[in-house]
Amino acid sequence: MKIIDAIPRIAGLVAMGVLFLMMSLTVADVFLRAALSKPIIGATEITEQMMVAMVFLGLGWCALQGKQIRVDLFVSRYSPGKQRVIDLITYGVGLILVAMMCWRTFMATLTVQQLGITCSYIEVPKFPFYALAAFGWAVLFVAMASLFVKRIKDGAER
């Protein structure tokens, strides 16, 4: 389980590095534009692709940390067994949904590659970033699968 949990954690660390770089790029762009009238060409598009990396690579670690929001108003009043069943159902539905999103984003990657779609200004192909998004969904899938297994074990230990 530790090895499986390491995948979202490593992806999450990369995401955090990207966040820092994104801040640095924007600050540099604003400074160069305001002080020297020489903005960084394509800073906006680079930021957009950095956003893809930061968000999708961070999803898995965020999930593992239990940071996703859920409304625990009624379910927390159910018996532990009932709560476990409900959690397993929602994790199961979530796993199917995330797997499907991963698959469809991967298919979109292939389409974008075939069509040769690039960022309009910097002309960098977009498909690697679509692939990164698909990878992010896969990492989230791994994290959720880990949570699913842990929830099963929780019940078994009781």
């Binding site: 999450g12 995401a15 955090m16 590095g17 966040l19 820092f20 994104m22 801040m23 640095s24 924007t26 600050v27 762009d29 604003v30 305001a34 906006t44 930021t47 957009e48 692709q49 956003m51 893809v52 930061m54 968000v55 999708f56 961070g58 999803l59 670690w61 965020c62 940390q65 940071k67 996703q68 929001i69 859920r70 409304v71 625990d72 108003l73 009624f74 379910v75 409900i86 959690d87 159902i89 929602t90 539905v93 979530g94 949904l97 995330v98 499907m100 999103m101 469809r104 984003t105 298919m107 979109a108 970033f129 679509y130 998004a133 969904w137």
Partner: protein, 432 residues
Amino acid sequence: MNAELVGLTGVVMVVVLLLFFRMWIGLAMAFVGFLGILYLQGFKQAFGVVGTVPYETVAYYPMAALPLFVFMGVIVGNTSMGEDLYDAAYKWIGMLRGGLASATVLACAVFAAITGSSATGTVLMGKVALPQMRRYKYDDTIASGCIASAGTMGILIPPSMGLILYGLLTEQSVGKLFIAGFFPGLLLTILLILTITITTAFRPEVGPAGPKTAFKVKVSSLKKTWHVVLLFLLVLGGIYGGIFTPTEAGAIGAFGAFVIVAITGQLTRKIFMDILKEAGWTSAMIFLIIIGAFIFMKFLGISKLPFALVKIIEQFQVSKYVVFAGIILLYIVLGMFLEVYSAVTFTIPIIYPVIVALGFDPIWFGVIFVLVIEMGLITPPVGMNAFILGGMTGIPLQTIFRGIVPFFLAMLVCIFLLTIFPEIALFLTRTM
């Protein structure tokens, strides 16, 4: 089943998944959105949406404002800026009756001007202001009530996560929303302080006067607040002056906060990593919700439910203010069960077209909307700020909720005043 009814069923399904299955809000909206599109338009469309909408939603430049402002807020939350602010406010007005509580409100308001979340202010004042108020024999009811309520100003006074999210979902200018939130934030601060003044005038024992401070000490306490003023002017001044966009303002604010933390010697390797982790987790959490919301919005658009709702309301031929009051009431009820991000992302696609059709100003409504969401943070049974404060201080929830009542009424007065005088929010935006 016609499309509008499918839309309505979808809305009910999300509520059921949230409340009775405690599904993650982002996944609940994405799941229902996918099923709805599948039902209405078939597999090809539904697969197309889940394959492209997440990427397109995230790879959109204005969205970068969210993680960057989160980053800025997290950095500020990890410094002593909030404590210094409270210290200064405490020295200036702490000697008045109810002064320590008023100082808490004032510090929260100024702190809100450099952070965008309500939890940060609540946690901070729970740590800093509550022990002081207890030391001077403040009643826990007023002390906890004012902290929980004033903490909510984090999402109203710019930079505000609530306003950014509203702007992104409705395609309204985040810059204008920020500027529009400034004076309502100030108004709310005055109303909350007024509430404390009135309460302590009738019941002096709940908020005795604090210690007197020499004028020299008062002035010197302001020295430590320069970085807060600088950050605020940097972010809002830059947006207002048209020097940079709200997205860039997030980066400049985060960078400025970093520099301040570094030069004041508060930046260690551990703090640096903690800041990055917290900012990364919070951003990922918000973006899963946003992705879900955009898939759900596609579904609602296809179902034409929001337009059907507008038609139904038009048929009633009642004053638009009656409908508005109904919407406010609905949000107060929803706020009791949903937290900020869920309430914003889930309801805006349905309510926003109604507001626009009724002829209300979308920027003005953004401010009102965030105010109502703020009220949800302090109302039972799911009052996030009350939970946070109760959890960290051990004050019973019923005491906190009892203390919140007068401040809740003050917020209602604020909404009322903003409805009668919308210019309070809008006049500054007209000068941009």
